[in-house]
């Protein structure tokens, strides 16, 4: 049982790593310049030179989908990483020291959670104006709260255990206790949570770009590509279908990775 779950996790980890490598190498893999417009091949269906066809400006869709992978995947992973680090740090500090910092941070989290994450993101990105950085700020605005709450509740449980009192009596500093005794014990569920949020973040990011609140044209990004192409969907359905397939595929892989990570944690937890 445990081996099977572990194998499944490793399999999806490899797939996700593969996607990230493709995204990283995208500038070298593109068959054509993703930004070069060609008036001779406007709205061309898929062919040998342009495997995914071209859009209304005659740009190669395959190249744009590949370049879009870089934007989508790295923005989502980077954002999840930042919110994870910030949220965990705040949560651990709140749980360990409690007091006024705890009260302030948790009330702030309550307020930010009084809105659905995506609604807040749309409002913030809408007010700030569309750009990659603003979209990331908008999505990260409330993103850290989940980790902060989870980390805090976990720390509160661990803090009461004997090995923490022992470490305190042994003269360990707070920093040492937090980083060597508390963090290793609570990090599992937090990492699982972060992994399963990559897919949602990607969808959110693409959604903002689709609404024109994220990546701006002409930069290649899946959400904004679909938005650009939907006006002439009838003429060039491939300009929507290929970026769409890329999103669904990538999000599926990261979602499955998240599910596998959760199962792995459950199994490991039972094993202890």
């Amino acid at each position: 049982m445990k081996n099977k779950v572990k194998k499944r996790f490793l399999f999806f980890l490899c797939l996700a790593a593969g996607l990230m490598i493709i995204a990283l190498l995208a500038p070298y893999l593109v068959p054509n310049d993703p930004y070069e417009t060609n008036p001779l091949v406007l709205k061309a269906p898929p062919c040998a030179k342009y495997p995914f066809g071209t859009d209304k400006f005659g740009r190669c869709i395959l190249s744009r989908v590949l370049m879009g992978a870089q934007t989508s995947i790295f923005c989502a992973v980077l954002l999840v990483l930042i919110t994870f680090l910030v949220g965990t740090l705040l949560g651990v500090l709140c749980g360990y020291y409690e007091g006024i910092l705890d009260a302030l941070v948790m009330r702030l989290a309550d307020i930010l959670m009084s809105l659905p994450e995506m609604v807040l993101a749309i409002a913030v990105a809408g007010v700030l104006g569309g750009s990659i950085v603003n979209a990331m700020i908008a999505l990260g605005f409330a993103g850290w709260t989940t980790y902060a709450r989870l980390a805090k509740s976990q720390v509160l449980i661990r803090k009461k255990e004997y090995f923490i009192s022992a470490a305190k009596m042994g003269g360990c500093s707070d920093l040492h206790i937090i980083s060597f005794h508390i963090l290793p014990n609570i990090i599992g569920p937090l990492i699982v949570n972060a992994t399963s949020k990559i897919g949602t973040t990607m969808i959110g990011f693409a959604g903002l770009s689709f609404l024109g609140l994220g990546v701006q044209v002409p930069m290649a990004e899946w959400g904004s590509m679909i938005n650009e192409a939907r006006a002439y969907l009838q003429l060039t359905p491939w300009a929507v279908l290929f970026p769409g397939a890329a999103i669904v595929l990538t999000v599926s892989v990261f979602n499955l990775l998240g599910d596998a990570a959760r199962d792995l944690l459950d199994v490991e937890g039972c094993h202890e």
């Binding site: 930010l112 913030v124 024109g212 999103i247």
Partner: protein
Amino acid sequence: MKNYILKRILQLVPVLFGLTILTFLLLYISPGDPAQKKLVSMEQTITEDMLEDMQKEMGLDRPFIQQYADWLTDVLHGDFGICYRDGLPVAGKIFKALKNTALLALSSIFVSILVSIPLGIYSAVHQNRLTDYFIRFISFFGNSIPNFLLAVLLMYFLCIQTKLFPVLSKGGSFREMILPMMALAIPNACRFTRQIRAEVLEQLGKEYVHGMRSRGVNERFVLYRNVLRSAMVSIITLIGLSIGSMMAGSVVIETIFGWPGMGKLVMDSITARDYPVVQGFVLIFGTIYVLINLLTDISYRYLDPRVEKEI
């Protein structure tokens, strides 16, 4: 129970207060001077004098706290300010749009429950059969597809290819509502099906089910009277949680189909830099979201009295 409800309502006050601060601050994180933005969106040429007059009129020359207090008093009286674009009150516009969005969201929640409960139960009862794998595959797929892509695909196949439905839903008639409703309901139904399947499976593995089966109780009776009833608690929670994704989804779906609801209104206002409408949108959606969460928690306790004892 009464004490609990009272306590929860009291806890709501600081959260709602915080929400108003957050909403008010939105105008301040936007780049540029609000008076200038208002003049720009009214499409006037700006002179130094006009800017100063406008700043005075909007009360921007007063201290921040006082501005917030005035704004809050207005909001509590149901006055959400004036639209920059056409000078009409924001409140009227928002409530008209809210009616349309509520219609769309409630009907799609209803449809997704109607579809997902039978599918979830069927899938759980026939675990690891072909139909179960099929349902699971579809519901996983529906979770991974972004709502805007789904809407565009529905439009392509049902409007352009087969001409079953009109492309735009500007009028708000029933036939025009079907497509946006489907676009909102499908991802939701997929999520519900997955959760209901998991919940029913968990209940089916419990000892009371073994007991009833070994006593020869009719399988249907076990399933519908006991298992489904226990699963109902988490289904209620699910419906409560889905309100959040409904709100966000409505922005995207309404923009695509042109449905005259909150989402369309807020996107139009964002494009026109009409910030009072955006503020009203945040405030209204936030309040509804908080209230629905409260209702969910209360009904959760009502349905499962064990929860009460734990606290």
